[in-house]
């Protein structure tokens, strides 16, 4: 059978795209971008994190265009990002500078500065609130106004911009190994394709922009036994990090740098107990740290990243979760959904080629069988 090249489908494609717009608009009600920005914090944070681009406004437009489908929204943002010039690199950001809105530890009850719950769904009953179906602007404005006017009763002088890190507390006790500061410039996976073995900076960058579901599933698999870790949340914090860039003309003076704004992130420092051999073969338990951080408030992802970070620091051929190629090549939203999705695209020629081979093989077999039968007769 010969192959025939075909073309066409232009009209069908155009109509398909119009139909897609119809699906978004057929209920004849506009979903304003400002409404997405106001009420879809979780989805915006996830979209910004997976697209590795911080902009609530752009994420909201992408969510609107994608009709709330995060994989499509991330794809749109990554595509748009690739059209923009990278103008600057920020000065080094450290999470000690975070203006904290939430900070807890699952390892220690009494931490300097205290356990600050902030805004969390952790202690809600998860009962569907049917009142939201009929919530009005007046209801909302009245609640917000009352909340903002409320006088705070106790005076607590905790400075939320200077909270001590729980890990430092352990380092001071000698329970976590001290390490030298390493100011080597990071690698950038958006500029150079990943090769193995990967660098730590590449691993952290990929994990931080990984798809929330994929990162979470792999971390869950680790805890269920497809990995060799027993993690506890040492510290989880959510808050705003100030971003500065150097004066491009004279980058030597830190006081001469430009403040460009603050970005909200979630950071998780996971503690993993390990047995280490000390002098004279004496064995002691110490803690290793797994580090997780991502844009917005996305705690499950940051914790999962912390778990996977530690897995990839401790390679183990017994578990795929400790294999950097297995983890890093499969958690990116655009790469994984893009590849799976491309299976829908026409594969007529490749499939016909496979079909040809099968038919030829079958024909050969049947001819051989026929010859054998003739010989027997």
């Amino acid at each position: 059978m010969g192959y025939v090249a075909v073309k066409g489908g232009t009209h069908a494609i155009e109509e398909s795209i119009r139909r897609l717009k119809y699906e978004r608009t057929k209920k004849k009600s506009i979903l304003h971008v400002k409404n997405i920005e106001a009420g879809m914090r979780g989805l915006i944070d996830q979209t910004m994190s997976e697209s590795s681009l911080f902009s609530e406004k752009l994420a909201s437009i992408a969510i609107k265009q994608a009709e709330g489908n995060p994989e499509e929204a991330v794809f749109l943002l990554r595509a748009y990002r690739s059209t923009l010039p990278r103008k600057h690199y920020s000065n080094k950001v450290v999470s000690e500078d975070m203006r904290v809105e939430r900070r807890i530890s699952a390892s220690f009850k009494d931490i300097p500065g205290g356990q600050i719950l902030g805004a969390t769904t952790d202690y809600t009953h998860r009962l569907l609130d049917f009142n939201l179906a009929t919530e009005t602007d007046e209801d909302l404005l009245s609640w917000v106004s009352d909340f903002e006017k409320e006088e705070t009763t106790d005076s607590d002088d905790t400075d939320l911009t200077k909270l001590t890190k729980v890990i430092d507390y352990l380092r001071n006790e000698g329970l976590v190994q001290e390490c030298e500061r390493n100011d080597q410039e990071p690698d950038d996976v958006t500029r150079k394709s990943l090769e193995f073995p990967s660098s730590r900076s590449e691993r952290l960058q990929i994990l931080s922009r990984g798809q929330t579901g994929a990162v979470t599933s792999l971390a869950y698999a680790v805890i269920r036994g497809y990995g060799s870790l027993h993690p506890t949340v040492g510290e989880l914090r959510v808050g705003d990090l100030p971003i500065y860039i150097n004066n491009p003309i004279d980058p030597t003076d830190d006081d001469d740098s430009y403040f460009i704004g603050e970005i909200k992130v979630t950071e998780a420092e996971m503690l993993m107990p390990v047995t280490v051999e000390k002098e004279h073969g004496k064995k002691e338990i110490e803690f290793e740290i797994g580090y997780g951080v991502c844009y917005g408030q996305n705690e499950t992802k940051a914790i999962s990243m912390g778990i996977l970070d530690n897995c990839l620091e401790n390679k183990n051929p017994d578990y795929p979760s400790h294999n950097e190629e297995f983890v890093l090549f499969h958690i990116d939203s655009v790469e994984s959904t893009g590849f799976i999705s491309h299976l829908k695209m026409p594969h007529y020629v490749t499939f016909q080629s496979k079909l040809d081979s099968v038919r030829k093989t079958k024909k050969k077999h049947s001819e051989l069988n026929q010859e054998k039968q003739e010989v027997r007769v």
Binding site: S95, N182, D183, Q205
Partner: protein, 141 residues
């Protein structure tokens, strides 16, 4: 006032202040546009706390503008799509670089705005601190 503090006050504070300061300059001096407000990215370099190494967290969408006053360059750059504010910031930056007389009168305004920001933030933080857990030991029999 150093640029680091000044830009932090202007961006965290009310945009009215930036407009007010920039207008003082644009009313009296010729401001040459070097680069119209335009969008771009800033890559965030972060230090992690496990090995104290650096990595790239991701990019931030920014607006940047460049102007010149008396031959001195001013840059205005901030997170988000804010062309007007980036222009005001660039004008203010150029005014500082050119050491214009008007700048001397800005210190009290900037310090007052810094105070406003501090008050607002303290109110916000007080609300956050309402969520701090107060553990109480339970009776043990």
């Amino acid at each position: 006032m150093k640029r680091k503090t000044r830009t932090r006050i202007l961006i965290n504070g009310s945009s009215n202040l930036s407009e007010q300061l920039a207008t003082q300059i644009t009313d009296r001096y010729e401001v040459q546009m070097i680069e119209e407000p335009n969008n771009g990215l800033v890559m965030v370099k972060m230090e992690e706390n496990a090995k104290k190494s650096l990595f790239y967290l991701g990019e931030v969408f920014v607006t940047e503008c460049k102007v010149q006053i008396n031959g001195q360059l001013g840059i205005g750059i901030l997170k988000g799509d804010k062309p007007e504010l980036s222009y005001y910031l660039a004008v203010i930056d150029a005014a500082y670089q050119a050491e214009l007389d008007e700048v001397k009168g800005w210190i009290p305004l900037l310090l007052a705005e810094e105070e406003n920001i501090a008050v607002e933030r303290k109110e916000f933080d007080n609300k956050v601190l309402q969520t701090k857990v107060n553990f109480e030991n339970m009776d043990v029999e």
